[in-house]
């Protein structure tokens, strides 16, 4: 009996160990990452204007808001979005079905093939897509508060309205007015017709046709924030009290932009500080991943000297925090000239930032290589300390936080 129990336990250990070992091995071999994009698009319900007549103006409402789950999220503040006007697929077709054997969906077809020149009723395009109503539609902002930018009619194809929602500004809902101005048909316009208001007259052949336009709401940016903890020393995984916060744009064009704000009186008013982006210690070291992106950018900025301006270097610190560094960015360990394997991308930037600047809210923008940056650690170091002691941190992988590390962003 005892032998059976021992064998059983041994089997369990072997199976669990095998699963763990195989999982680690497979994760190492496969190296495929999956990332949810913060960009999204919304297609609203049909806004039907029915039968309309020349020189009419009709209005409909469209409400865009922060969702219940976003309002409950304590590390996100605002959303930037755009409203785009796109050619519409005919109602009897599914916009996302592929056309025959092609890999092109009806939606893509209508978007890319809108006929130029005079209206030709024989054009195959009209079999799948409506004649465009887009240039006759406006999106008027509610101006409450004045942080949105609408589009009024008549306008050219491709016009875009911009919207902004922010918890911190009490702006949870944008109520847009979608209005339609109806042009007349060539040869049928009365003398009072004003093309500046209703747009140019349309070809007479288009009378009695059904027109359409898709309104697409696309999120283009999200501002998020993370708490900054008092550093408790390199050898501990515990976090100190929160002493400030970093607000950042989760999706930047060529740069990470944000604001660092530290509690008044926490920093030494006689010292200067440096801001640091640090890749995940357990992260991939392959090209295109966070560590490589940070390390390569740091070295491309200014490989030697760390005294002023934008600057950087990279290291391959091990998980025990006994690190080797490569201050001249030649890919070799400064100590023994052995090749580095980018265990940890490390980018110092924004030097000589004063305590007063950080307390007032220091705005920064650091140019970064396009890519997805995951589980980044953020540090504030004391430049006047001989060891550049870390005074504030947002933890990376391996340290304790009540929520998963969310300092992740995308640079386009």
């Amino acid at each position: 009996m005892k032998k059976k129990i021992t064998l059983g336990l041994l089997a369990v250990v072997v199976v669990v160990g095998g699963v763990a070992a195989l999982s680690a091995f497979e994760a190492h071999i496969i190296n495929v990452t999956a990332t949810i994009e913060n960009a999204l698009s919304v297609s609203p319900d049909k806004i039907a204007f029915g039968t309309v007549f020349p020189q009419e103006k009709l209005y409909q409402n469209l409400s865009i808001s922060l969702s219940e789950s976003f309002l409950e999220e304590d590390r996100a503040d605002d959303i930037d979005y755009v409203i785009k006007f796109k050619p519409k697929v005919r109602e009897e077709l599914d916009p996302y079905d592929e056309m025959g054997d092609t890999q092109v969906t009806y939606h893509e077809y209508c978007l890319r093939n809108y006929p130029e020149g005079p209206y030709n009723p024989q054009d195959e395009y009209w079999t799948y897509c409506y004649p465009s109503l887009c240039e006759k539609l406006s999106a008027l902002a509610d101006n409450d508060p004045e942080n949105d930018e609408g589009v009024s009619t008549p306008h050219q194809a491709g016009a875009t309205a911009f919207g902004h929602l922010a918890k911190s500004e009490g702006d949870m809902v944008d109520n847009w007015t979608i209005d339609l101005v109806v042009p007349c048909f060539e040869g049928m316009c009365d003398q009072t017709y004003d093309p500046a208001v209703y747009g140019p007259p349309m070809p007479a052949e288009m009378e009695h046709l059904e027109f359409g336009c898709d309104l697409w709401i696309e999120v283009t940016g999200t501002s998020r924030y993370i708490p900054l903890y008092e550093e408790q020393g390199d050898q501990t995984t515990e976090l100190g009290p929160i002493r400030g916060q970093l607000t950042y744009d989760a999706q930047g064009a060529g740069a990470l932009s944000g604001t660092v704000e530290v509690d008044e009186g926490y920093l030494n008013s006689d010292h200067d500080y440096v801001l640091v982006l640090n890749g995940p210690r357990a992260g991939s070291t392959a090209d295109g991943f966070t560590n490589e992106l940070l390390a390569s950018k740091a070295c491309s900025v200014n490989p030697v000297g760390h005294q002023s301006g934008w600057d950087g270097w990279w290291s391959n610190r091990q998980t025990d925090n006994i690190g080797t560094t490569d201050t001249d960015c030649n890919g070799l360990d400064d100590g023994d000239n052995s090749p580095l394997d980018r265990e940890e991308g490390y980018y110092n930037f924004a030097f000589d930032v004063t305590a007063a600047q950080l307390e007032a809210g220091y705005d920064f923008s650091v140019a970064l290589t396009p890519g997805v940056y995951s589980e980044v650690q953020f540090l504030v170091k004391d430049l006047d300390d001989p060891n550049w002691a870390t005074v504030l941190e947002y933890p990376g992988v391996g340290e304790t936080d009540s929520t998963p590390s969310t300092f992740s962003f995308t640079i386009e």
Binding site: T35, I36, E37, S67, F70
Partner: protein
């Protein structure tokens, strides 16, 4: 126990271990949508921890994306599996495909709230499996 039985048992255990390994290594995300009353109401949440489709009134739709990047040296088969109450509302454009080394592929998730949907929160999950392409 005969030798044959032992072999069969061994094979079953190996298969089970491989299945568990794939499940452990799969990327797993929660999908959710809050169906609300009213017309043309669109509450958005672009956070990236979950595939959150926000608050949508009936007849509205939303599209979200997951990007897969192969930084390894081997091509992989990718399988996308969605399940749960929300899965009938969500359409995925690529369910099975091959991801080559250095390749990046975007998977699109479209949700459309039908007129018959109840006013409540729908949730479910999507698991993305990656298997090395052997041949």
């Amino acid at each position: 126990m005969s030798i044959l039985k032992k072999i069969v048992l061994g094979i079953i255990i190996v298969i089970l271990i491989l299945v568990v390994v794939e499940v452990v290594n799969a990327s797993k995300y929660k999908m959710l949508v809050n169906v609300v009353d009213g017309e043309n109401i669109m509450g958005i949440n672009p956070m990236t921890e979950n595939l959150d489709f926000g608050d949508l009134s009936r007849n509205n739709g939303m599209r979200r994306f997951i990007t897969l990047n192969n930084g390894g040296r081997f091509a992989n088969h990718v399988f996308v599996w969605k399940f749960g109450e929300i899965s009938d509302l969500v359409k995925v454009d690529k369910k099975v495909f091959v991801l080559n080394p250095g390749e990046e592929v975007q998977i699109t998730f479209d949700i459309n709230i039908p007129p018959s949907a109840e006013t409540k929160k729908y949730s479910g999950r999507v698991w993305i499996f990656r298997l090395p392409k052997l041949f």
